[in-house]
């Protein structure tokens, strides 16, 4: 482990690039995420060999090939399980999971939930493009109702899931959302995820140029997004809009959009508390959907809880403190034994 006094070589973003040619479609949102990721990695001061990127299957899951760190392109939906195993073996590593809406919420939904509720210290980036890109354009679990694709020619009828709601329901300790082309915000959120101790879940709105172009335009187009998204800031009232004159108020058990002025002030608005132990308000924020509501960007929840691998190792250390570290001889004699001497045996009370 590097100590504070060790001088680490400073790496530039370029030095995190592998020698592999990047093969996403031109204009794919993944390019931007990769570029910001390299910047964030360069700023973290973590040695390259301590970084591991683990992915499942899908366009986004090619990500590890393009970084000059350790990487594991695994199987569909299972990346969180492999990341969990790796952290149990090597808690000192910085482990990132790259997944998508199909990989992480359809085939791998179960693993995502359980990695989050265990609070394994892994960073899960879910690239949500609301479509299956690699298999050439079928609707995904996040596609809006009515999405017309090859597998839903009359429009999809499956109710979509909300990735942030799922993460919060799984009691994830860090939950955030950002947008592929919102470079500064993306960098900031990735950095916050990186320094969070515990499972971090980041949904990234990512444009699929080929099969679902413009699906997040309302949240990414600079000319209109101010009225459609709300940037969360801890301890600040929920204000949004081009003129910063709209806000979110809690009315009974519901959220509502209000306009500031005419008797309504910032004091009437909901104050964002990302550190709240109770995820209920964060859950309400996760359910704000365009166009009825602005969609929230930023950190919905950031709380501290012991990580899974810490607890696993602590139980081991605690037992060793009481009983001592076990040897092979201890292991073999952990139950009643008896001694056979020559042709006759003799009873022996192993517990005395």
């Amino acid at each position: 482990m590097a100590t504070m006094t060790t001088t680490l070589p400073t790496l530039t973003p370029k030095e995190f690039a592998s020698d592999q040619e990047v093969r996403w479609c031109p204009g794919c949102g993944d390019y931007s995420i990769l570029a910001q990721m390299k910047k964030v990695l360069a700023s973290l001061g973590i040695p390259r060999e301590k970084l591991v990127f683990i992915s499942g299957i899908g366009c986004s899951s090619r990500f590890p090939y393009y970084l000059n760190t350790y990487g594991f392109h695994t199987i569909h939906g299972r990346a969180p399980t492999i990341a969990t195993g790796l952290k149990l073996a090597r808690p000192d590593l910085s482990v990132w999971v790259i997944t998508g809406d199909g990989d992480g919420l359809s085939i791998g939904g179960n693993h995502l939930i359980h990695a989050l509720r265990r609070n394994v210290d892994i960073k899960i980036l879910l690239f949500n493009n609301e479509i299956y890109g690699l298999t050439k354009g079928q609707y995904s679990p996040t596609s809006r109702i009515g999405t017309r694709t090859k597998s839903s020619p009359l429009g999809s009828i499956d109710n979509p899931v909300k990735p942030l709601s799922i993460a919060l329901a799984a009691e994830a300790t860090f939950v955030a959302r950002t947008v592929d082309v919102d470079i500064n915000h993306l960098t900031e959120v990735l950095h916050r995820a990186a320094v969070h101790r515990g499972a971090a879940f980041v949904e990234i709105y990512q444009n699929c140029k080929i099969f679902n172009d413009g699906v997040f335009e309302y949240a990414s187009d600079k000319s209109i997004k101010a009225d459609n998204v709300l940037y969360l800031e801890h301890g600040k009232p929920l204000i949004f809009g081009k003129d910063r004159n709209k806000g979110i108020r809690l009315n009974g058990t519901h959220l509502e959009v209000v306009t500031l002025g005419s008797g309504i002030t910032a004091d009437d608005l909901l104050i964002h508390d990302e550190k709240s132990e109770d995820p209920s308000l964060a859950f309400m924020l996760s359910r704000m959907v365009h166009p009825e509501f602005p969609e929230v960007l930023g950190v919905l929840r950031a709380v501290q809880r012991s990580t899974y691998e810490e607890l696993v190792l602590k139980q081991i250390e605690d037992v060793i403190k009481v009983k001592g570290r076990g040897t092979l001889q201890d292991l073999f004699r952990s139950e009643d034994t008896w001694v056979v001497e020559g042709p006759r045996s003799q009873m022996q009370d192993a517990s005395t």
Binding site: S18, Q20, P47, R48, E49, K50, V52, I54, P64, Y65, N68, Y70, G71, F72, H73, T74, I75, R78, P80, T81, I82, A83, T84, G85, L86, K87, L88, A89, R90, L93, H111, I113, H114, V312, V319, I320, K323, G324, R325, G326, T327, L328, D330, L331, F332, R333, S334, E335, D336, T337, W338, V339, V340, G342, R344, S345, Q346, M347, D349, S351
Partner: protein
């Protein structure tokens, strides 16, 4: 002999006021309702017999339902133990003494009791209601239908309640001790030492003195009942077996598997990461390992079978020993993950405690029908190593071997145990540390070609290096996509794919040079060679020995390595006129032997969820030898 009536030497010694007969071996079965504590009684009888110095072999048989309706045939739970004054390998074909705690237990077990065998019944349980639940139209204790047996009717419930009366327990609490009354009676009958069980009761119920006292009194009351009752005129003695000197403990297959995994971890000085999802009959391995934290074992109860194998693979990638266990239905789910480990060439230990299938099948019943799934159940050309233990204690040896091969050859290794081995117990001689295999593994710490690290550069055995994340300068990417030879980069090149398919296959095939030849027990050539694999070892060995005593030219070869098979397998097969392959499936190994060695192997199949009987194999050997 396990399956024949014990030879009785009428020494008629006086002991405790009653004569003692010496026997060579006895098979006892406890049977009762699944709430009657029969597994516990059986386990205690086993411990006492093992500590006394007999050789032992046991067969628990219990329903999948935790509590089927009381008194019904579906709820019967049994525990059989064979204990002897000589080497035994099986739990025994026929039962010499049957303890039946209720009519349902009698009905489902009586067919296995030898003619003239001792039948001890809890006569209190033979009420019209329980007789009806068991489907008896008349009371078998009174209608003469049991006259082929020596029936001892003991009002166990009444006598036991009497024994614990002073403790003021409820009738229900009192009745929960009645298994110890029956156990005490059997202890007297077979001169078992009571002290190991009394000590167990003291430790188990240390926090509940009333229950401790009740169980103690029940056990002793049963023992004393044996001494005084007129119904049992003699009792029996089975001398200690001439067991090789050493320190012993009793192990079940699952216990030995857990011990072996931990031993391998200590021998390799690597953490064991064991991820598993609860499934019968493999869960006990997880339970065992979760108790062994002081040996540094890291266990996880995963959210599903798929996750469990994924976690094990992740741990292997991180340089630990990644292992997972399940049964057949779980293997179906894990095969995708196993294939990833095949493709990425990472070590992985997969334990399959086989049970009767297909699908959910019969969870608590044994079978050997996952061999072909282990070998061929994945998409693509996907070679894995497959080993199979032959006995409960051999699980220790073979799981260490599975770990050794996995880390030495960067490959998944299947360990095919089964429900019988998992729950069956035998004495295990604790190995000297110097006798344990020397395990070692190295991880690269520097680039391996022209200043760069090539993850798929292979050594002379075709094994790639195990570079562990955290090692500076060796950063590399692996994955399930086909990779270019040497560099490991993604490749769709047709010839490269073909080369990689062959390399992966050849790497596993090369392991043949690193495993022992298969041993032939019996003549080196002759009429019949019986070839088995895995948990059928004991039964086949006993049957073949018996056949030779009958003058037949028969030998036994038992495969512990199914892929690759030992190098001498083909040569051995050709030295015998007939090949017999008994399996608890429809002929998996037989299919492989025929395909691989072009021999006309004859199968003997049994798929009843139960192990072979010695006589079943012996009869088939006799039939073949005549041809």
């Amino acid at each position: 002999m396990a399956s024949t009536a014990p030879s009785i030497q009428e020494k008629a010694q006086k002991h405790n006021g009653k004569p003692v007969q010496e026997l060579d071996a006895v098979v006892v079965r406890f049977a009762g309702d699944s709430g009657d504590g029969m597994q516990l009684a059986g386990a205690q009888f086993t411990n006492a017999s093992a500590i006394f110095g007999n050789d032992i072999s046991t067969l628990p048989d219990f329903p999948a339902e935790i509590r089927a309706p009381a008194g019904t045939l579906a709820g019967v739970s049994g525990f059989q133990i064979n204990f002897s004054s000589y080497d035994i390998y099986t739990p025994g074909d026929q039962v010499n003494t049957l303890v039946a705690m209720n009519p349902a237990a009698l009905k489902t077990n009586i067919a296995d009791l030898e003619p003239g065998g001792l039948l001890i019944v809890n006569s209190d349980a033979f009420t019209p209601q329980d007789l009806h639940k068991a489907g008896y139209e008349s009371n078998p204790l009174e209608d003469g239908s049991l006259k082929a047996y020596r029936v001892i009717k003991v009002p166990i419930t009444t006598l036991n309640r009497e024994a614990v009366k002073e403790l003021r327990l409820t009738p229900r609490e009192a009745d929960r001790c009645k298994n110890f009354f029956a156990l005490g009676l059997l202890y007297w009958l077979y001169e078992r030492p009571m002290e190991p069980t009394l000590r167990w009761i003291r430790e188990k119920f240390a926090k509940n003195p009333a229950v401790m006292e009740a169980n103690t009194r029940s056990l002793k009351a049963g023992y004393h009942y044996g001494e005084t009752t007129e119904e049992l005129p003699v009792h029996y003695r089975v001398q200690r077996a001439p067991i090789p000197p050493g320190t012993y403990r009793k192990v079940t297959g699952n216990e030995a598997t857990a011990l072996g995994l931990v031993a391998a971890s200590l021998l390799l000085d690597k953490p064991l990461v064991y991820a598993s999802y609860p499934i019968t009959p493999a869960s006990d391995i997880l339970h065992q390992l979760a108790e062994l934290k002081r040996y540094g074992v890291r266990t996880v109860q995963a959210e599903d079978e798929i996750s469990a194998v994924g976690m094990a693979i992740g741990a292997s990638f991180g340089g630990a020993i990644g292992a997972t266990a399940t049964s057949g239905p779980g293997i179906c789910l894990k095969l995708e993950g196993i294939n990833l480990a095949v493709m990425t060439e990472l070590p992985l230990v997969v334990i399959d405690v086989q049970r009767a299938g297909p699908s959910t099948g019969m969870p608590t019943k044994t079978e050997q029908a996952d061999l072909l799934q282990a070998l061929f159940g994945r998409n693509g050309e996907s070679p894995v190593v497959v080993v199979a233990p032959t006995s409960p204690a051999d699980c220790f040896t073979m799981i260490i071997e599975a770990v050794r091969l996995a880390v030495r050859y960067m490959t998944p290794v299947f360990f095919l145990s089964d429900g019988f081995l998992a729950n069956s117990a035998e004495p295990w001689r604790i190995p000297n540390l110097s006798d344990l295999p020397k395990l070692s593994v190295t991880h690269p710490d520097r680039p391996n070609r022209d200043g760069r690290f090539m993850p798929y550069l292979r050594d002379e055995r075709l094994v790639r290096q195990w570079a562990v994340p955290g090692t500076p300068g060796l950063e590399h990417r692996i994955g399930g996509l086909e990779k270019e030879d040497i560099t490991g980069n993604v490749s769709y090149d047709p010839l490269n794919h073909e080369r990689m398919v062959h390399l992966r296959a050849q790497k596993v095939a090369n392991i043949v040079h690193d495993i022992p030849p298969v041993r032939v027990e019996g003549p080196e050539e002759g009429d019949v060679l019986v070839v088995g694999w895995g948990g059928t070892y004991g039964t086949i060995a006993t049957a073949v020995q018996r056949a030779r005593r009958l003058g037949l030219s028969v030998a036994h070869a038992h495969l512990r390595y199914l892929n690759p098979m030992p190098g001498n397998t083909g040569a051995i097969l050709r030295r015998f006129r007939k090949i017999l392959v008994p399996e608890l499936n429809r002929g998996h190994l037989r299919l492989l032997l025929r395909a691989e060695f072009l021999v006309d192997a004859v199968g003997l199949s049994k798929v009843q969820g139960r192990p072979f009987l010695v006589t079943e194999i012996l009869n088939k050997i006799q039939e073949l030898a005549k041809k």
